[in-house]
């Protein structure tokens, strides 16, 4: 299932060298609105070892609003892109999403089970919230 937002992101990464990809990630990171420190609590954190990630979600007009932040720039960059794709959608939409951009822009290694703090656990957490939003 094609998705315009993801396709657009994939295009921006297309053909870039590794280091340039990371530069681009950093510029995405800079676009991300920082989370208010008061929300960076233990409960809101996604446990891991490499970088800390906080998540906060709420509903507005049936849409899920997701607020994510991290103390590492690369993680922020990934989060920033992820939010472009998943934020502000209905829980069912989110569950239906095929996040093919991850593989296409070469972030698959961040998904490995070895990376407890990787994209995988962030996505898992978002899906869990979305599922609770449906039931």
């Amino acid at each position: 299932m094609r998705d315009a937002v993801q396709d657009e992101i994939i295009k921006r990464f297309d053909g870039l060298e590794w280091l340039d990809r990371y530069s681009l990630l950093i510029s995405f990171a800079k676009e991300l609105k920082p989370m208010d420190d008061k929300f960076k609590t233990e409960e809101n954190s996604i446990s891991g070892c490499q970088s800390r990630v906080w998540i906060r979600t709420y509903r507005e007009d049936g849409k899920m609003i997701i607020d994510l932040d991290s103390d590492a720039m690369i993680t922020r960059g990934i989060i920033s892109i992820l939010l472009k794709v998943v934020n502000n959608r209905s829980p069912q939409d989110i569950l239906n999403l095929d996040l093919y951009f991850i593989e296409k822009i070469g972030l698959k290694s961040n998904l490995s089970p070895a990376r407890a703090d990787g994209l995988a656990s962030i996505i898992r957490r978002i899906r869990e919230v979305a599922e609770r939003g449906i039931n």
């Binding site: 446990s47 490995s112 089970p113 070895a114 407890a116």
Partner: protein, 393 residues
């Protein structure tokens, strides 16, 4: 029948000028070239420590290690790879369970059988448990009707197949009885994983232990299956890789499988187990089992037909090992002479002294078979035995 021997470089060897006939597979199996190569390849191009790596090689190693876990998980029919942890071997797996369950076992009782290997005896003693055996008949069939479970019985720990006799214990029957009493069951699959189909869901055991080196993989690696029912027991070992938060006052643990893998694991070993499973599955498990059954039955029959040979144990299903003695000839003598003919068997108590006592012998000669053994190997054994008998008369 294809010739599997050619896959195993060591089987080309000559011993004292005779072609090696390796019949000590219950002690350890030989390794196919492809498994040996995968170990080398790992060290040559992927080696790195796993988990939490910030770098490429660490990702590659971690991925291969976790893929190995998945492969083992599928192979034994686990519900989830998190139920599979890599250990240092079957003995280590059993010790870990004994250590984790020590608070429950101490001063209570573990039910075992009369054919157990010391590795399924001593760990329970070290945990402070008393041992009692399920009765068996003279042929070493377990008398499951006579299983007596008391308030003190906190665990049943049984081998799937005996490393001495090759007898196969009715483990499903036993888990069924255990479940009625809500008692966990540990299955020592060290001598069955390489011979029999195993599905932990079907067996319905709580723990299953085996070694890599007896199933065509590296030394120093084993597996412990821990049912998700026991996903929150206290880990037996502490160290890097299994903790969440550590302070001098208090430490919290990760979830399984990492919870049960303290320290750097045997990464190359785990990968070799997956490679060995691949090797077997490429041949086809059914094909292997049929071939093994044919050779085993043939060898057993031949031995039973040979004059002056006493074969121990006789149960409905058997695999792997055959134990015997020659009348009036010490097993040590038999083993030494066979060795000089290039035939590798093992002699002694086979780490099963309680069984030896009930068989009324100090030791046996054990011939144990693997997928590469053939009827010709069995013939060589019989021929060797005849020669031993001649030398001693």
């Amino acid at each position: 029948m294809t010739d599997f021997k050619k896959d195993f470089p060591i089987l080309e060897k000559e011993i004292y000028g005779k072609k090696l006939v390796y019949l000590d597979n219950a002690a350890t199996s030989q390794k196919p070239g492809c498994v040996i190569d995968i170990i080398s390849e790992f060290y040559r191009s992927d080696n790195s420590n796993i988990h939490r790596g910030a770098h490429y090689l660490s990702e590659v190693s971690s991925e291969k290690y976790e893929k190995a876990r998945e492969k083992v998980s599928d192979f034994i029919g686990a519900r989830d790879p998190a139920e599979v942890t890599f250990t240092a071997g079957a003995t280590d797996s059993i010790n870990q369970v004994a250590c984790s369950l020590e608070p429950i076992l101490k001063g209570n009782e573990v039910l075992i059988t009369g054919v157990e290997h010391h590795s399924n005896i001593v760990p329970w003693q070290l945990a402070g448990a008393k041992l009692r055996s399920i009765p068996m008949d003279d042929d070493c069939n377990l008398l499951t009707d006579s299983i007596e479970i008391t308030d003190k019985t906190k665990l049943i720990a049984i081998s799937h197949a005996s490393n001495v006799l090759g007898s196969v214990n009715p483990i499903k029957e036993i888990t069924r009885i255990a479940k009625e009493h809500d008692i966990p069951v540990l299955v020592d699959a060290a001598q069955s994983i390489q011979h029999l189909p195993i599905d932990v869901k079907d067996i319905d055991c709580d723990f299953l232990a085996f070694s890599g080196h007896k199933m065509y993989a590296a030394t120093g690696v084993g597996v412990l299956y821990t049912s998700e029912r026991f996903s929150d027991i206290v880990p037996a070992r502490g160290g890097g890789g299994m903790v969440d938060k550590v302070t001098l006052e208090r430490t919290t643990y990760l979830n399984p499988p990492l919870r049960y893998e303290a320290g750097t694991p045997h990464i190359a070993g785990a990968i070799s187990v997956a490679a060995a499973i691949d090797y077997m599955q490429n041949i086809g498990m059914d094909k292997i089992r049929k071939h093994e059954h044919d050779v085993y039955s043939y060898a057993r029959e031949k031995l039973l037909e040979t004059d002056g040979v006493k074969v121990y144990g006789n149960t409905e299903n058997m695999c792997g090992s055959i134990s015997f003695n020659l009348d009036n000839i010490h097993q040590y003598d038999t083993g030494m002479i066979l060795d000089k003919m290039g035939i590798a068997v093992r002699t002694g108590h086979h780490c099963a002294q309680p069984l030896m006592r009930s068989l009324g012998t100090e030791g046996t000669v054990r011939a144990s078979f693997a997928l590469y053994n053939t009827k010709e190997d069995a013939d060589m054994l019989i021929e060797g035995i005849e020669k031993v008998r001649m030398m001693y008369t």
